[in-house]
Symmetry: D2
Subunit: 262 residues, 4 copies
């Protein structure tokens, strides 16, 4: 049977990235408290393609995934990328995995337990050396400092999504990044709040007003102080309760002295 | 050329609805203030198919749309449905059109003008008689009565989406439904707010706390009192600022004495 | 602390449904082959609210979920609904759970194994009696009979989504409905196909051309013949490769003699 | 009234981008055939914020938009960015506008006219100098060369989305990029096809099999040959009819000799 993908190509045009996107797969990932967590990943796996091949072999991406028995722990990403490079005869390999991630959180007054959903992100590239980025999306409450300052009572507040991505020199947990995001918000969000808890959350948020700008700055300062972190991106998108559009702020930095990816 | 769709079908199974979905089309709709408004519609057009035909003729839906020169004013929906019934030789025809709809709104203190986006909905069916439903989605602010009552200061609030649908006996504007929704919220939302306006919106919302339950009840009461309206559905979905899930409430009623669709 | 939700309400307006939406929760569901499957649910839980109460107690929905230790097997839905009714003092309770569901499937020629993603749906209501609906979304290939008939070679084909929902008198597996959908398509889809498999899938699809209309009729006929099933809805939405819109067909029926829900 | 945003900030942390996202606004854009086209934009407008200011003034973004009377022609983007820089006292300003864009297209055999939806993209940045990117998303048909080669009859095909972005030295129409994408696909897609047209489209696609890899290479070659273009990105995402995931290929290049943005 003819291998059309392996045919020579005369166009002299290499391709940066070719592969599969929107591939959904059940995976297990590392969980700081429970060891592992079962979740469902949304995957993108691509490789570079030299100018002399007509196409890549898409089925090999799935075969590599299968060999890992659905375990996509953070420390397996390097292996997956190595296999992608060698099996697909590529100079570069890239993987991106997004997944819902749940943590049990105690309500602030009653201690009632509830699960909160976050989104985890692993993004890795391998050419000569490995480049790995860990990310997280964290829902939080933000309360507007301007609205509080100028109003006789109350202040507009809303659900916001904080996104943090880092490159690091030694291991960082998703949970560490989530704690950083929640510590810099007006308040964390919870799934289960009794009346006493709702009082506590409301009063905490009112006592800690934060612009999107404040939040990304405070997160950036915390990440600056963490010696494990080489690069970071921090952004906040506030689903403004007084508008039908969002307020947004973003900071991205290589730390001084960190080996910048060329 | 063979007409495969027109082939007889032996399965003795009529089809309730067959047609096109996710069809996007530029349309003009009626605008209370400006006469017409240009927008982009998302359309679903379907007909019933008797058991003895194998398939419908999908291209005819598009032809009918084209004949209307992109005008899908509310009073043309009946014509479109008539044409769908006759050209597709169907017992029943259905259309659903959703579209972004913009209204210029003055900020509450400075009067600064800004455009707010709503979603309009026309939904029509024609079998023996015509059944038409007008709908709208309205972003608003809601502020939690419980949070206000139990907290020393502040109260959680958030962006909410109110959805109203009605069947009516005499013409109702989209704008009428939007005004109803905004009048029953803690506050409308705006695209342009100066500091004085933000103060006004914050204080108004704080003075008018509303559960999702309160809002749908107040909307329902207003719709009950409007003699033009025969049937209504009112719902509110609050993107809770203290949770990562939404709070929801919904009421749907035929008014006493209104001719219920069998 | 005041219980604002429990306050009397003078508006004389009961609420059909009030509760939580877009609640994401890790759950386990029954799996025909492996016993259970870990997945992530998207939940909607609502109850009716009598006219004399101002609001419902949203936190109780989460508490009920927690008591089930993340197990939302199909045979637990009744218990969950009972608890919702009693704890929230409601006449009616509703739950809807959607979740990604994976099945290992062998490629048609080489037998290579790969996981395919489906979407499962449990929808239950409890007022006097229980009403339960099981649903599934199945991606398949459809190849157009008209295009094949009139063209000298080739035929347009595309990814389609089949949706089946049933009410039943004795237990039906999600896997049963998935097999029904795949048996009525031009071909199932796979995640892993080697060249021999791609040849088989292409030739199978070309030999089994199916309109959206054909597919829903064949599914309906199969469901008619299954004595366990009382009611069914079958629809297909084809992401037409020759259009930027979709083709759609839908059939919904109570079987003759089945106890129709009033 | 206190200007909280204007307060000094002691954190010594400048912010890369701050502003509004998911802002929807009715806009007119240039249309090669009809002069202008009315559509609905999805906007992101951000500026940099120096370390010594606490916050930006979000309402000014909306004011700038309003002054343009809803006209966001491509040649106004520079003015908008200039105003953003000066009114918000920023070093850098960014804007991104996405909008549905419709072109009337004649069916290949009968010449029947129908509107096809594309997505337009304007993306501009202004710091010292202006950087502008024009983009488009084009739905097309792709037919798999491997499937055709190895199968006795038929070949799998599907709807694909081609995305092209360019930086240019002299004006390029959206329509030019759309023609490039459609010329490199197995076939364009249409909204209105009669039977003769469906035959033509099916046979054309079968005679022009294209991998995602082929398509992005052919597009890249065309863009390489266009002297107006300095930089390009071309990608194709195929909604594979035989899988539930997509096939993807992407090329991004500064042309030799083109002034690369530092």
């Amino acid at each position: 049977m003819k291998d059309v993908q392996n045919q020579p190509d005369a166009r002299k045009m290499s391709i940066d990235r070719v592969g599969v996107t929107r591939l959904r797969y059940p995976v297990t990932v590392l969980d700081r408290k429970n060891g592992i967590q079962h979740t469902v990943g949304d995957l993108e796996m691509t490789v570079s393609l030299p100018h002399h091949f007509r196409g890549t072999h898409m089925s090999r991406f799935i075969e590599i995934l299968n060999e890992h028995h659905r375990e996509l722990h953070i420390d397996k990403i390097g292996d997956v990328l190595e296999k992608m490079k060698s099996r697909l005869e590529a100079e570069e390999a890239h993987i991106r995995l997004r997944f819902p991630y749940f943590i049990e959180k105690a309500a602030p007054a009653t201690g009632a337990m509830g699960l909160v959903e976050y989104t985890g992100l692993y993004e890795g590239s391998l050419s000569g050396k490995m480049d790995f980025m860990l990310g997280v999306e964290v829902p939080v409450t933000t309360l507007c400092p301007c609205s509080k300052e100028i109003s006789e009572s109350g202040a507009h507040n809303q659900r916001s999504i904080v996104r943090i991505r880092i490159r690091y020199s030694s291991f960082v947990w998703l949970e560490d990044l989530i704690e950083t995001a929640e510590a810099c918000a007006s308040s964390p969000v919870y799934s289960l709040l009794k009346r006493e808890d709702e009082k506590a959350v409301t009063e905490t948020a009112y006592s800690r007003p934060m612009f999107a700008e404040d939040m990304v700055r405070d997160i950036a300062l915390k990440l600056e102080q963490d010696p494990r972190i080489l690069w970071y991106g921090a952004e906040s998108e506030n689903m403004e309760s007084i508008h039908n559009h969002n307020a947004f702020a973003s900071i991205e930095r290589w730390k001084t002295g960190a080996g910048r990816k060329s």
